[in-house]
């Protein structure tokens, strides 16, 4: 919980920087062109310029949790845009790596759910590969129903638990 709060705080701070740096662009296509400049900026990050890098800004600002329907592993359209951006970032930064953690809600059996969680993580992985990421940059792991995001026995909790969490190992 603490980690995610930190992430949110950083994301928020960076999003301000991102908006400032990209004041001329408001459409998704111009976001793509921003991504195109990522490789150059990434070197700046590597030199230790810290949080000012716009490439980090992009990634940190994106959605990292993607939700699924019961017993389904179809990536929902709501996640397409941000997943494409993560993929584009990975394509532009070959040394960057992510882990996709697949999860299920508590209904059904545990081993079936761990298989379902893997299937969800792999669906996200395929989506990102289609959009330019390399298979070697993506690792999938499933926790099934073992690590719920929210405890509870109603659809309100279950819908939050059927998810894939995208985590950067290296940027």
């Amino acid at each position: 919980m603490r980690a995610s709060n930190v992430t949110k705080a950083v994301a928020l701070a960076l999003s301000v920087a991102w908006v400032a740096g990209c004041s001329t662009s408001g459409t998704s296509s111009s976001t793509g062109s921003t991504d195109g400049t990522d490789s150059g900026t990434t070197q700046g990050v590597g030199q230790g310029s810290g949080l000012s890098g716009s490439s980090m800004t992009d990634v940190a600002n994106l959605q990292t949790v993607f939700y699924f329907d019961f017993d389904k592993s179809v990536v929902k359209a709501a996640g397409f845009s941000d997943l494409e951006k993560h993929a584009t970032y990975l394509a532009a930064n070959p040394s960057a790596q992510v882990v996709l953690e697949g999860h299920a809600d508590e209904r059904g059996t545990r081993e079936y759910n761990i298989a379902l969680g893997e299937r969800r993580a792999k669906a996200v992985s395929r989506f990102m590969q289609v959009n330019g990421a390399s298979a070697s940059q993506i690792e999938t792991v499933s926790f099934g129903e073992e690590k719920p995001a929210i405890l509870g026995h109603s659809e309100a909790s279950w819908s939050q638990n059927r998810r894939v969490e995208l985590k950067y190992v290296t940027r």
Binding site: M1, R2, D71, E106, R107, G108, T109, R110, E111, Y112, I114, A115, L116, E118, R119, K122, T140, V141, S142, F143, G144, E146, K147, L151, G152, H153
Partner: protein, 433 residues
């Protein structure tokens, strides 16, 4: 020697009784609507220090939990006989008690105790069982469960399974998303729990070896699932399988030499058999769907497993020599984690029917009939007692995971008390050696 002689003579006596009254066992198995009244009288004790356990009460609880017997509350007993001379059958006939267990607890040297127990048929005024058992004062529960096994077998004709163990997983939250996962082992009645593995990452799918000397389970201690074998006597652990992707659902073969398991190293979850001696790995299923939760038929010739190859999770059986595949379940929209009874006839499973609630169900593989056994909520992980008398499973009570029990006919249901944390994934041991 004397005690052994007593046991044998009692056995012969009982056999002759059963031969004379072939309906004895049948009456009891049919008698669930009207359970057989049995009284376990408090055992006498002439030692100096108080005993730590009440053996007679444990025996009474064991027998009562099967649902086959209605156990007499000791507060309603007219007397507490502990020997044949003190036992007046008329007193017990008045209360309609059909069988009485009496016993004497005698101190022995070196922290030992001797317990002599006798079982009587009240109506026939006959002794059915008389035996002496010795044990440690520290393990009075072992003695109690042994007596329960003897009495149960004498009254039902079915081997008792009280002297067995269960393992299960607990998850204890302590704030900030921190969880302690524990693999625990307890008596079949949930008493005497001991932790045999504890860690901060999930533990899953414990499975007993057929000789009950080791467990296989899935651990995420490295951040990814891997299969481990742990020896119960020494606590020694061995990492068996850690391929890329899933490593899960271990199931020991009846011969003890092979482990069925699930790997997704080839792209999606498939069932494999690992030969533990040669370390050869044989792939059993070939389908792009989810294939998981393998379990062996008692003869070791087949595996049953869950697959969503038909669109929804259902249970299939594959005959290993021929690789012939057969779908077993058709009723319900989600059937998974099947377990077979030792006679191979009944399939216990997690079942979701038209009410969309997960229950434990049993399918008679001969007739195809499916009976939903439980009325609890979010039921999973059925595990069958080695004598086929009861199914233990995981369920929810309030916001807590607990273990539930149900007889194979669904007539007897109970919840095991849980000490702390969320309890899940029970696995019933085979008979102990």
């Amino acid at each position: 020697m004397v005690s052994r002689f007593l046991a044998f003579s009692a056995l012969f006596l009982t056999l002759s009784v059963q031969a004379d009254n072939g309906d004895l066992a049948i009456e009891i198995t049919q008698g669930i609507d009207e359970p057989t009244p049995v009284a376990v009288v408090p055992f006498s004790w002439n030692g100096s220090a108080a005993l730590r356990e009440d053996i007679a009460q444990i025996v009474s609880n064991d027998l009562g939990r099967t649902g086959l017997f209605s156990m007499m509350d000791r507060r309603n007993m007219l007397s507490f006989p502990s020997s044949r001379e003190q036992l007046f059958f008329r007193d017990w006939r008045v209360s309609k008690t059909e069988f009485v267990v009496i016993g004497r607890q005698l101190p022995a040297e070196n922290g030992q105790i001797k317990v002599e127990f006798e079982l009587y048929d009240v109506l026939k005024e006959q002794q059915l069982l008389a035996e002496r058992v010795s044990g440690s004062l520290n393990n009075l529960r072992d003695i109690a469960h042994y007596i329960s096994d003897m009495v149960y077998e004498k009254l039902t004709g079915i081997r008792g399974a009280f002297s067995t163990r269960i393992v299960y997983v607990t998850a204890q939250q302590f704030g900030e998303g921190k969880v302690r996962y524990r693999l625990k082992m307890a008596d079949s009645d949930g008493a005497r729990p001991v932790t045999i593995r504890e860690q901060s990452e999930p533990l899953m799918s414990p499975a007993w070896s057929k000789d009950a000397s080791k467990l296989a389970y899935v651990s995420f201690e490295s951040g990814k699932p891997a299969i481990y074998i742990q020896y119960l006597a020494t606590g020694k652990r061995e990492k068996i399988q850690s391929f890329r992707g899933l490593n899960g659902a271990p199931a020991w073969s009846p011969d003890g030499h092979r482990l069925a398991l699930v790997l997704s190293k080839d792209g999606n979850p498939e069932v494999y058999i690992l030969d533990l001696r040669s370390r050869n790995l044989a792939r059993i299923t070939h389908h792009y769907g989810i294939d998981t939760e393998p379990s062996w038929s008692p003869d070791g010739q087949s595996l049953i497993f869950t697959s969503d190859r038909g669109g929804l999770p259902q249970i299939y059986r594959i005959h290993l020599p021929t690789r012939q595949l057969e779908r077993l379940t058709y009723e319900g929209n989600y059937n998974s984690r099947g377990r077979l009874t030792q006679d191979g006839r009944f399939l216990a499973m997690v079942h979701r029917g038209i009410d969309n609630v997960f229950h434990i169900a049993v399918q008679d593989l001969k007739s195809g009939r499916v009976d939903v056994l439980t009325d609890t909520y979010l039921d999973e992980s059925p595990t069958i007692a080695p004598n086929g008398s009861l199914i233990l499973y995981a369920t929810q009570k309030g916001v807590k995971g607990v273990l539930g029990g149900v007889s194979l006919d669904g007539n007897v249901r109970f919840i095991l008390p849980s000490a702390s944390g969320d309890v899940r994934e029970p696995a019933w041991s085979p008979y102990l050696q």
